[in-house]
């Protein structure tokens, strides 16, 4: 505190009511920017969303511990992109939402003029901004390692990254919006690790035993990896099944989340 306020420091009319909601676009952009900036400022989030994918990209390109089709970097980029999307949109989002609820942020914002759709929209847009930044950084790193994607492949990558962010984001909100912050933290990390190792990301579905492969292909992680592999490695359009799988997961999670998400 500074000095004691002199009495009558507020000129009459200072607080004359003039209520009303802000412009939707301004609310959306301010909220999204805040979300994105906070993610990038959080050390654990940067580790999860950027450093781990980057380490995997460089490490697995340079060290042949896992059998990969050649050129190694070309086959790694789709998986690392999928991991980056999953880390930010699912794990990062779930944990952030869990703790934001704990700290009363969601309730705080829900008490403003921010419409409910914007409350979600700002988080989604913030997530998309972070994913875009991640993919640019990872793409530049991959290019330095010798990756040279086709233009069509990059267009599909943008489409799949947006779809993947929305789907994984919905699953992240479903998890982070319903449970206690600590439970969210534990589950989001465990699920991330399981999907990374056994969900068709590091080991693609093709390389798994057939019985397991069919089940794994139904996971959003495998669908996103497959779609990106089609677009960037095989040079084709993503298989319809991958798009359908991602869409189904996202839609189901979003519908369920509207019922289960709590403000605190």
């Amino acid at each position: 505190m500074t000095d004691l306020p002199p009495t009558g420091r507020f000129a009459p009319g200072t607080f004359t009511p003039a209520p009303g909601a802000g412009a939707p676009l301004r609310m959306l952009l301010t909220h999204a920017r805040t979300e994105a900036v906070l993610t990038m400022r959080n050390g654990e989030q940067v580790l999860l969303t950027l450093l781990i994918p980057l380490a995997l990209l460089i490490g697995l390109t340079k060290v042949s511990v896992v059998d990969l089709p050649e050129p190694r970097v070309d086959s790694l980029v789709p998986r690392v992109f999928a991991l980056a999307v999953m880390s930010t949109a699912f794990t990062g989002q779930a944990i952030a939402l869990g703790f934001d609820r704990r700290y009363g942020v969601v309730k705080r914002l829900a008490a403003t003029a921010l419409p409910r759709w914007l409350l979600v929209g700002g988080r989604v847009l913030g997530c998309l901004a972070v994913v875009a930044l991640q993919l640019v950084v990872l793409g530049v790193a991959a290019a330095l390692l010798g990756w040279s994607p086709s233009a069509v492949g990059l267009v599909w990558t943008v489409v799949l990254a947006v779809l993947g962010t929305l789907s994984f984001g919905a699953i992240g909100v479903l998890l982070g919006g319903a449970l206690k912050a600590e439970v969210v933290l534990a589950l989001a990390n465990v699920i991330w690790l399981v999907l990374l190792l056994a969900g068709g990301v590091v080991l693609t579905a093709d390389t798994l035993p057939p019985a397991m492969a069919d089940a794994v292909r139904l996971l959003p992680s495998a669908a996103l990896t497959e779609g990106l592999t089609d677009a960037l490695f095989r040079g084709t359009a993503p298989a319809l099944s991958t798009v359908a799988t991602l869409t189904a997961w996202g839609t189901a999670a979003a519908l369920l989340a509207t019922k289960t998400t709590k403000l605190t």
Partner: protein, 325 residues
């Protein structure tokens, strides 16, 4: 859409019918499992006035406020806030109110200035966030992450977030909890300025002093029920039968003669050595009798005063004197 905008415009110009209470609550009931948090609470906030919900911890204050804010649905009872249903009309109500929740309300890593600018962006005609940060003494920590602010600084930021949208009605849940005396005085001044400028305020507090200083109307609740209400003056108004005259003099005086001289119904006790208490209907005649008696005894009655109950006395009389968790 246009019609709605027109109506909101009318509010901005102050054309709302003066008769519509800012908050109107009746027979509110809310239970959590087998615990009844709010049990038939009712009150009204007159537009442009300050109402204090006063009660001990766990009295049901926060539950009542959260029902008014639309965060909780009552089990039964009626709530209208600015003439609207806080749950069903939430989207129309929220742009018009300012909310200061009890504790928390910011991203752990957000800087104080960022948080206030975010909330300001949600309002059509916000106050200047930089001015508000400065006014609330937060200029030195505008770039400090929320989790590293002191409790009092977090409270001031929370208050700034409630004010910034220039609302016509504010809900302040324990606005001065954790604040030092200077900050508390600043909050009191802010609330007085808001009221003077025509905003309505519903605040909760367990500080009698705060309710007495700020409120036009005080509603005392305990165990989820309203146990008393009125202006601070009405609540502390002297009840003739409960008046008391106190004075100090030599200890151990024989008060038999004094009792005999006083009107019937008056009692004289000496609760502490040399501290005398005369209870009953204390009128000027009684005061005169007491001083005359002291003169006869050859003692000077010191610190003689006729007691007016403080709001604290009223509060403690109503809610009990034992500490509760």
């Amino acid at each position: 859409m246009d019609a709605r905008r027109g109506r909101d415009g009318a509010h901005v110009l102050g054309l709302t019918t003066v008769n519509t209470p800012a908050v109107e609550v009746s027979d509110l009931v809310k239970s959590y499992g087998s615990t009844t948090a709010v049990d038939g609470v009712g009150f009204e906030v007159t537009p442009g006035s300050v109402l204090a919900l006063l009660g001990p911890n766990g009295a049901g204050k926060t539950t009542t406020v959260e029902i008014c804010e639309g965060f909780l649905r009552p089990d039964s009872g009626a709530v209208r806030v600015l003439g609207l249903d806080p749950v069903a009309d939430s989207a129309r109500l929220r742009p018009r109110i300012g909310v200061m929740p009890q504790g928390g309300g910011a991203y752990p890593g957000v800087r104080a200035g960022e948080m206030l600018r975010l909330v300001a962006a949600c309002a059509a005609n916000p106050l200047d966030p930089a001015w508000l940060i400065d006014t609330l003494g937060l200029a030195g920590c505008a770039r400090t992450p929320y989790k590293r602010l002191s409790g009092g600084q977090q409270q001031r930021l929370s208050l700034a977030c409630a004010l910034v949208g220039r609302p016509e009605l504010l809900f302040l849940d324990e606005p001065t909890a954790g604040m030092d005396p200077q900050a508390r005085r600043l909050v009191w001044e802010l609330v007085a300025a808001l009221r003077a400028d025509g905003a309505s305020v519903l605040l909760t507090t367990h500080l009698m002093e705060e309710a007495e200083a700020l409120a036009d109307h005080v509603v005392i609740i305990d165990g989820g029920r309203v146990v008393a209400e009125g202006s601070p003056a009405q609540l502390t108004e002297e009840r003739p039968e409960a008046q008391a005259l106190r004075f100090r003099a030599r200890s151990g005086m024989d008060t038999g003669l004094l009792v005999a001289a006083l009107p019937e119904g008056c009692l004289v006790t000496e609760p502490s050595p040399g501290g005398y208490l005369v209870t009953g209907t204390v009128d000027p005649q009684v005061v005169s009798t007491v001083t005359a008696w002291c003169a006869q005894q050859g003692v000077l009655a010191e610190e003689l005063r006729v007691g007016r109950r403080s709001l604290e006395d009223v509060f403690l009389d109503l809610t009990g004197r034992e500490l509760r968790s």
